[in-house]
Amino acid sequence: MNATIFTHELRTRLRSVLIWSLGVAALMLLYFSFFPAFADQAALMKEMMARFPPQMSAAFGLDKLDLSTVLGFFSFVFLFAQLCLAIQAANYGFGLVSVEESELTADFLLSKPVSRGQILTSKLLAALGSLALTDLLVWAACLAAVSLFNAGRSYDAATLRLLLLSLIPFQLFFLAVGLIISLLVKRVRSVTPYALGLAFGAYVLSAFSGIFGDVKLELITPFKHFDAAAIVSSGALNTPLALASMAVVLLALAASYWLYIRRDIHAVS
């Protein structure tokens, strides 16, 4: 760990962290503020949604949700937060080391008296710090939203906490997978398309697995590993899937160290 790199990374990313977390926080507060209206019209809503094509309901997980309950509605809204945070985490993962090469600052950093391992560790810790800061702000907004707009209905606080905590491994997946992909390709010219691709790709896989029913695509997407609707209905994580997700993270990180330490940093051409 190198404090100079860590501080620099945190400071460079601070603006992005604030924009993402305040954006997601505002989204959660706004969407969840509709809950009292939904809860009042629950019977009407159910009738309307019964007329949706079943594939569409499945794609949004509506078949498993009861939008008239606090956590049912919350887990529906939570999907948007997951999608945004997936893009953010993938963004940090893809950009973690590739940004130094695409912006041609790698020569500067790597000729300093630090080892590649130290550089990667410092950068990873700074990225984790950025994600943790995001989570704190998003959690605060979610808890505030639920306590402000619960329409007097009861909910299981432990399940809500579990759902919020599941964001951490969820983000780690996108950070680590983004990082390893950025090291496997020759050069990442622009981070955003990769990040959007990974996050939306994972989301679409999860949505499609709902439509096709028995296709087991959910095994590879964290939107299924940490499926909000499933967590709410069972009150627990799907342990095998959550463990599989963490195994992917550990493998991706180990492989990233291996690749980064051996990587040739090519001259500007």
Binding site: H8, T105, S111, K112, P113, I265
Partner: protein
């Protein structure tokens, strides 16, 4: 003591040649010139020594320590000025230099300020607003601010105006006088001749010669082109003349030796036009190694 020791160093990028079987030594306190045309392998060699890229085979030691095993410790003593300077665009010059200094134990603020002042660099400006020459100055200050014992300069003068070039050379000479070893890569023979004590010449990835600058100067070619009335190739059948070509009354050749012999011969001719110039490095290579 050898500050740089390179033995049979080879680097292939996949199948593409980087450098092949390069060996040389640089002694402490030397200014070692490293010349060759673009693409010959100069940057590859420097990038290998800095562990930016990894060798296919061969060995390198800096300060007597293996580069692969002791990279971070070795790099504490090294200053590096890349040929193309790019820095974090959102930062101010001062922030970038502080970031750079943060990697080296000690307080480098005074030295940084002195260097920036000497190079006429305004530390309050944003890096994205700087011209190429000014970015180069940031690179120079950044490479020197931690008082390294070994300097790698990769084509350092491109982008600097002649006045700044001179200041920069003075700065390098001053650092050298304090005992700093300098590894100076360039494709401009003239600046290497001005500064260096010894040179290595690299061509197509191979070190073709390592010699004293004086030896190279004695072999100094001039390229002469003239047009005159009644000119024939035989007029310049002198010792030291090579590659004599006559084309439409214009005579061109390379000359090595006492230039006065050519001048005396020229003064006897009704000259229309004459050009005497330094051959390009390419031309030297072509004739030096015939």
């Amino acid at each position: 003591m050898s500050v740089i020791q390179v033995r049979n160093l080879t680097k292939y990028y996949g199948k593409a040649r980087g450098i092949v079987d390069v060996s040389f030594d640089v002694a402490e306190g030397e200014i070692f010139g490293f010349i060759g045309p673009n693409g010959a392998g100069k940057s590859t060699t420097i990038r290998l020594l800095l562990s930016l890229i990894h060798p296919s085979s061969g060995s390198m030691t800096l300060f007597g320590q293996d580069v692969a095993a002791h990279g971070p410790a070795i790099r504490r003593q090294i200053g590096y000025l890349p040929s193309e300077v790019y820095y974090y665009e959102g930062m101010k010059v001062r922030e970038l230099l502080q970031y750079s200094a943060g990697f080296y134990p000690g307080d480098w603020r005074q030295r940084t300020a002195e260097l920036a002042d000497y190079m006429e660099l305004d530390m309050g400006r944003r890096i994205s607003d700087l011209s190429y020459g000014n970015k180069k100055k940031v690179g120079i200050v950044q490479g020197l601010l931690h008082s390294p014992r070994l300097l790698f300069l990769d084509e350092p003068t491109s982008g600097l105006d002649p006045l700044m070039q001179r200041k920069f050379f003075d700065l390098i000479r001053r650092e050298n006088a304090r005992g700093v070893t300098v590894f100076f890569s360039s494709h401009i023979l003239g600046e290497v001749q001005r500064l260096c004590t010894r040179v290595g010449i690299i061509r197509e990835g191979r070190m073709v010669e390592v010699s004293n600058i004086r030896t190279l100067q004695e072999n100094n070619y001039k390229k002469i082109r003239l047009s005159a009335e009644g000119l024939s190739a035989a007029t310049f059948d002198l010792p030291g003349v090579t590659n004599l070509q006559s084309d439409n009354g214009v005579l061109s050749f390379f000359f090595r030796g006492d230039i006065n012999a050519v001048l005396r011969r020229l003064s006897e001719l009704p000259i229309n036009d004459v050009v005497i110039e330094e051959p390009t490095l390419e031309e030297i290579f072509m004739h030096y190694y015939e």
